[in-house]
Symmetry: C2
Subunit: 494 residues, 2 copies
């Protein structure tokens, strides 16, 4: 076997192991009977160990070195570069640290669940402290050149620079606060969507919309799970989940559109290159741009509901008779500061993210420590959103991320909004009748545009290079902020 | 780490890889979207390759040798013996042969599907020829000492002797043929069960019966799939499937009881030893004894339906009014020679198996070859069952086993009937009120008896040692034959 074939085999094995591990995770969330958990954890640990050994194998180092001298095609170079990146990062973290992080995270997660249930931060605090120490150490080991936080962020948003993030986020924060205050002063009051929405009809309606978005049911599934998510096992097997609330169809529906946006990215990856690093989403931020763009910019737009609202009313007879189309569009875009990130609207969501980002950075740079968190959290909430949690469960304990060692992950949520708005701005220029397509329920133009420009590219370009290439300029907060300004000025008559 | 701990780790990794591979298989049958097949095959091949490397690793040879000199406890000795058995068998088959068998089986399976669809044996014949050659070679490589067929059978029924099988099967064949002829001469005519049985109610009723059998829903699931099966991912995650026919509840119901019997075995394995060879069913024949015993000897008995028939009538109002309890019990035990094994009744089933067993043996010992099969098949059908297939799809092409290289598998189905009847005979003596328990819908006595005597023992004893230990005598065909004689003499007034 020549060197390149060996490399391909190695890469494919790692890819398949990752796909398998995703099946185990999906199954655990959606299907597995309760008593299955203990042995499933052992199965997953076994698989993780095998993958890790394959990734840090000295024979891979040799192979990668030898390939440096070969005459490779462009895509092969991308694959080589990416596998080397993963290989070297994995090599820099000692196995003892990897194991300790896995063990401590598992215990910390259990304590976080209990702490949140009892709204008692002290139960979680010592474990969070340990997680933060270990993550600081991990960042020191990997040491990509920038700050420790930038190093950790690289896992989720490869090649992202803290300075760039800082520049956009510091622009977003005051604009969102200001917009929120203007909305707060508006006399406009959205009506309630509460009603009786049978789960079966919610499911059927959601599937209709996913179909119109171009979600391929031959290469994907929709199921229910306690925490909605999307996972691409392969580009031909992409699974999304939702959960239904009887008295409010909108949670499940916008959740489905959101996960559907993620799902289109996974289904759109270039399957001809499956098995290689290039056939992977380029970053979590870019992934989130796909979900947010569909969920908010398309799915909560008046144009979209011009087509779908009559059908929604038919699906749930009598439930929405009191809402005109305009009432409805206002109701699904209601802005109101709230304590919980995952329930936040489009305007306040960014503030939830920015405060987490600011707190994480300080944690990793030793400026604050776990015991400081409740106070820091509550103060930021008050400063940015004007409300203060009355208990830790609705405050600092609400997210699972830190308990699992996911630090540097939060900013990708807001990056998603920014990328999404910037992309859609370009898409609107390149598809001149996009709005009239949307108004007639035809989403194929946008889906194809995203497929060609974003999905099939995969990891051939980093998120920031991709956004420059597609839109002709670097990441900018303006598109998102202008979109919000325009939309909410109209809705709330500002 | 000491040698024993190393051994445990090795064994656990192999167990977890097997469990994972079962998840992939279950998912593919039950859940996976259609386009997922290609990459799933690659994932499964990757996993199989990793498992195989771990099993034939020279370091494992060394470890096993070193452990021979250690002072081990009884269960540790069982585990050592079993892993050595697997290790040595795997070592004897060259990797080229393993790979060729996997590749040829995959292609042969595709050709078998087409051949059966078009009822054209010639499409499958060359691939079956190749499979048989490869299996003959595999048997020569493994060479356990007995015949080639015995060597192949060892994969499914470890330690089984062809001479023992020959002794019991040659006794069963004439007795079944004779019983069938007597039934054929009976004036008794069972009534039809056809009706309208909504799938939802079939499902609910089946779940009730599975619950009464002691199937643990916290450690298992029931789903639907085109081909019903049971798979134990771990003793705490056991999955069974069924398929429903609207106009006949009995297919799904007896299928569920059958798979439930398999499921109880898997759930009853000693989970404290999960990760080691001892925590595994001892043979496919013993596994089938559990399903057949529940499906036929319990599930089709008059005693069982004394309790359940009124509830069945209530579940499907108006559908069974014309059948008394006796009519019903006769209807679910109707005997009638038919072409298809999986649709065969309890009396003719054994003849379907014996003819396959006889044909397989001749194939492996070079007495006949693939081109001879259609004629040999049709003649045996006529000789044993008095009917002749009018096409290959309903004849030699009906089973998938040979296309997948499963040779030596069929006899385990009949062994299951024999083991089951012999076990239930002993159980009836040791649980004196078993029949009245059954008549009152209480199956816990039998379930516990099987758990203690069969399930928790796992692989500590071979199937033939286990049957001797429990029943006090070697495998005998008498219990099965006497059970059939008594039951059908009464039902058909012979």
């Amino acid at each position: 076997m020549d060197k390149l074939d060996q490399f391909k085999l190695w890469s494919q094995e790692l890819t398949h192991l990752r796909g398998i591990s995703s099946i185990l995770a999906w199954d655990q969330e959606v299907i597995m009977p309760p008593l299955g958990a203990e042995f499933r954890a052992q199965q997953r640990a076994t698989l993780a160990g095998i993958s890790h050994s394959k990734l840090v194998d000295p024979a891979l180092s040799e192979l990668l070195d030898e390939l440096e001298n070969e005459d490779l095609q462009e895509l092969e170079q991308v694959n080589l570069r990416e596998l080397r990146r993963q290989h070297e990062k994995a090599l820099r973290v000692p196995e003892t640290l990897v194991r300790e992080l896995a063990e401590v995270s598992a215990i910390a997660y259990e304590h976080w669940v209990r702490a949140r249930r009892d709204s008692d931060f002290s139960v979680f605090e010592p474990w969070l402290s340990r997680i933060i120490e270990l993550k600081r150490e991990e960042a020191r080991c990997i040491a990509l050149g920038g700050s420790s936080y930038e190093t950790l962020m690289d896992e989720f948003e490869p090649s992202a620079k803290e300075s760039q993030l800082e520049a956009v986020f510091s622009k977003v924060r005051p604009r969102l606060i200001e917009l929120l205050q203007r909305i707060d002063g508006s006399p406009v009051r959205p009506k309630s969507l509460e009603g009786v929405y049978p789960v079966k009809e919610q499911d059927a309606f959601g599937r209709k919309i996913l179909t119109s978005m171009g979600f391929d049911w031959n290469a994907g599934r929709l199921d229910t799970s306690p925490h909605p998510f999307c996972v691409g096992l392969t580009p031909n097997d992409v699974r999304i989940t939702t959960r239904h609330t009887e008295n409010d169809f909108s949670r499940a529906l916008f959740g489905m559109i959101h996960e559907g946006g993620h799902g289109l990215y996974e289904q759109g990856l270039d399957e001809a290159n499956y098995g290689f690093p290039v056939c992977d989403s380029t970053s979590l931020g870019m992934h989130e741009s796909q979900s947010r763009l569909w969920e908010n910019q398309i799915g909560r737009s008046r144009s979209f509901w011009e087509h779908w609202y009559p059908q929604l009313r038919k699906a749930f007879p009598g439930q929405l008779d009191h809402l005109s189309l305009d009432d409805f569009v206002l109701a699904i875009n209601q802005v109101s500061p709230s304590l919980i990130r995952v329930e936040a609207d489009e305007v306040t969501y960014g503030l939830h993210i920015i405060m987490r980002y600011e707190i994480e950075k300080k944690l990793i740079s030793d400026e604050i420590n776990a015991p400081d968190l409740p106070d820091v959290w509550d103060s930021k909430m008050e400063e940015y959103l004007g409300i203060r949690p009355s208990n830790a469960a609705d405050g600092v304990l609400q997210d699972t991320h830190w308990s699992q060692g996911l630090i540097g992950y939060f900013p990708t949520y807001l990056l998603g909004n920014l990328y999404g708005a910037q992309l859609l701005n370009t898409a609107s220029k390149e598809i001149p009748d996009l709005d009239s397509q949307t108004r007639s329920g035809n989403m194929s133009g946008l889906k194809e545009w995203l497929r060609v420009n974003v999905h099939t590219v995969g990891r051939a370009l980093s998120a920031s290079d991709l956004i420059s290439k597609i839109t002709g300029e670097d990441l900018s907060a303006n598109y998102f902020l202008d979109y919000l300004d325009e939309k909410y000025s109209e809705l709330y008559r500002l």
